[in-house]
Amino acid sequence: MTASTSTEPKVPAQRGGSGGGASAERERVSAFWSLSRAMLLGMKRDRTATFFILLFPLVFLVFFGSLGKGSSSPHAKVAQVGAVKLFDSMQGGDRAGLDQVLTITRTDDEAATLEKVRKGDYDAMIKQGPDGEVELRFSAADTVRAGAVQGVLGSVVQSANQKATGQPPAYVLDAQQVEDKSLKSIQFLTPGLLGWAVATGAVFGAALTLVGWRKSKVLRRLRLAPVSAGTVVSSRILVSLLTALLQTTVFLVVATNFFGLKLTGNWWLVIPLVACATLAFMSIGLLAGSVAKTEEAANGISQIIVLPMSFLSGAFFPMDGAPGWLKTVSEVMPLRYLVQASQSVLTRGGGVMDALPTMGGLLLFAAVLTGIAWKLFKWEDA
């Protein structure tokens, strides 16, 4: 048995320089990059994480974006029974204009068509008698559409009468829509949902990384290696910033190309804004991760913060009508400021001065919370 060699000491073999002779500078840099790389690779390969960080918010954007598209044009469906001279005689441009607001379907059975209007399958039924009288029967299911159909037909009858006199019209209405930015929902939704996505990614990312590392003892490994806390923290910041910028890019590309988002002049200011906000959200995550002992707890604490923060931030709906105390709650949460400032620079033509105070506030928030997290930070569970 080898053990019987008892206590005689072995001669330590000669080894080159004790423990890594590389210069301190090179050591720091390579540890920083390889740690960042390890985290990015892990995240990229984690399908669930990718889904929640990138696809899930995008699904919301597509969902809300499509909803907005539908409601912007109240298109009415009208059934035409038999020949209606009023419509049939319309030519070229006039007819095309009519088709933009009404979908006209030809039918023959009056009774059946009227039944369909009752059921709401058609918004209205139209019929013209031989004496020129135009009958309109409309459903009251959708009062806006009913009004629109009445208005449209009224003006069609008016202009037909006017044409029949052979005189040029005395008054001409020149109506043009004014582009109202606040109305278009995508302009409002994109900055809001982007802010929500960035907040979710950064809070959960920081909290779960910290708790996961503590539980799996990776944190202990880092502590036992000659890497500084600064290296670890800054590489985690780099990873969160890259994630947030990727989210921003994807959001803006999808929203501008598929949902008609129009960016205003200083939209690029959203980049430093998102960066500062990411630090603020990370500090929330660090705090949650410092307090929580398990991943489940970290998840719960993050959720308790992120969910109300999202709903009260104006990311999903405006906070104008909210009661005072709710407004106060939303005012202490950083997401609201990110959403407001990025709405300003992305879609309302805001400039540097709209973004700078928000950036300062977000950084201050991050500094305070990181300080608290630092105090509560634990390397080990027990």
Binding site: M1, T2, A3, S4, T5, S6, T7, P9, K10, V11, P12, A13, Q14, R15, G16, S18, G19, G20, A22, R26, E27, S30, A31, W33, S34, L35, R37, A38, M39, L41, G42, R45, D46, G212, S216, K217, V218, R220, R221, L222, R223, L224, A225, P226, V227, S228, W379, E380, A382
Partner: protein, 305 residues
């Protein structure tokens, strides 16, 4: 020459439990030192205090002449720690894992890959760590602990949960690490492992070191009885007792568990001759004391692995 490790009167309490209760030990440079004890004996806490990840309530520790607590960046490159659990980054391959950990010590990818080769994982380099078997994960963990060429290596139950083949492979690796001149500190559940690998062993229970010495010395020191057993059914317990007493044999225990008839004695010769006279030698086994007997005698309880 200073000792590689010296600890003096370390104590650690968790709530009501005195996990470590006044442990003092010295490990010489190049020694293979084992801490043996049942679950909850305080082995892991002792290791954590030695490594410097835990501050003891009382007592003093020095590694290579330096205090490991508070965190000492000068000392860290000179020690390597293998973990009980597989403490790896998520979703990385074996190669990416060891390269990442090596980089923390300023060690480049070539040396990291060489360590992978050293522990026989080159063909598993592209496998995700969560897909590896227990033995592969342990070898990777050891490779990560060795990548920066440390002088002292701490191994916390490295073979727990491995199959016998994987255990033996790992033993060869651990012996090599020690033969290169590294000081190795090992905690283990397994008595045979301590007996085979360690130059010196400390037996620990209830937070205290009960005894320290070379395994062979420890075994010789105890009142060594020899256990002789033969297959059951050749001789009844009563008949055996009568015959043995008549022959003047000194019997410590005598029992029949219906598989074998076993006798413990300090003087095997008369027992063996009685059994031979009775032609009752079928299934004969003679076993000397092991570390298990030492453990039993020191702690007064059955070894719970």
């Amino acid at each position: 020459m200073t000792a590689a490790i010296s600890a003096d009167g370390i104590r650690q309490r968790y709530g009501d439990v005195q996990a470590v209760d006044g442990v003092s030990l010295t490990v010489e440079a190049g020694e293979f030192y084992g801490i043996l004890g049942p679950n909850g004996a305080g082995k892991t806490t002792t290791m954590e205090i030695l490594e410097g990840v835990r501050k003891p309530d009382e007592g003093r520790v020095e590694l290579l002449g330096m205090a490991p607590w508070p965190r000492n960046p000068k000392l860290l490159p000179r020690i390597g720690v293998q973990f009980q659990a597989s403490a790896f980054f998520r979703k990385l391959t074996a190669r990416e894992t060891i390269r990442t950990f090596a980089s923390f010590y300023g060690v480049g990818p070539k040396r990291a890959d060489a360590m992978l080769e050293r522990v026989g994982l080159t063909d598993k380099a592209e496998v995700m760590t969560d897909q590896m078997s227990g033995g592969q994960a342990q070898r990777l963990s050891i490779a990560c602990a060795l990548a920066h060429d440390p002088e002292i290596v701490f191994l916390d139950e490295p073979t727990t949960g491995l199959d016998p083949q994987a255990r033996r492979n790992l033993w060869d690796l651990l012996r090599d690490i020690n033969n290169e001149g590294r000081t190795v500190v090992l905690t283990t559940h397994y008595l045979d492992e301590a007996e085979v690998l360690c130059d010196r062993v400390s037996i620990m229970d209830h937070g205290k070191i009960l005894h320290t010495g070379a395994p062979a010395t420890l075994i010789r020191e105890i009142d060594d009885t020899v256990r002789i057993s033969v297959a059951s059914g050749q001789l009844t317990v009563e008949r055996a007792r009568d015959l043995l007493t008549a022959a003047g044999a000194d019997i410590a225990t005598l029992e029949d568990d219906s598989v074998s008839l076993s006798v413990s004695t300090r003087l095997p010769a008369p027992v063996l001759s009685v059994l031979a006279e009775q032609n009752a030698l079928r299934g004969l086994e003679v076993r000397g004391a092991t570390l298990e007997d030492v453990f039993l005698q020191l702690t007064g309880r059955e070894y719970r692995a």
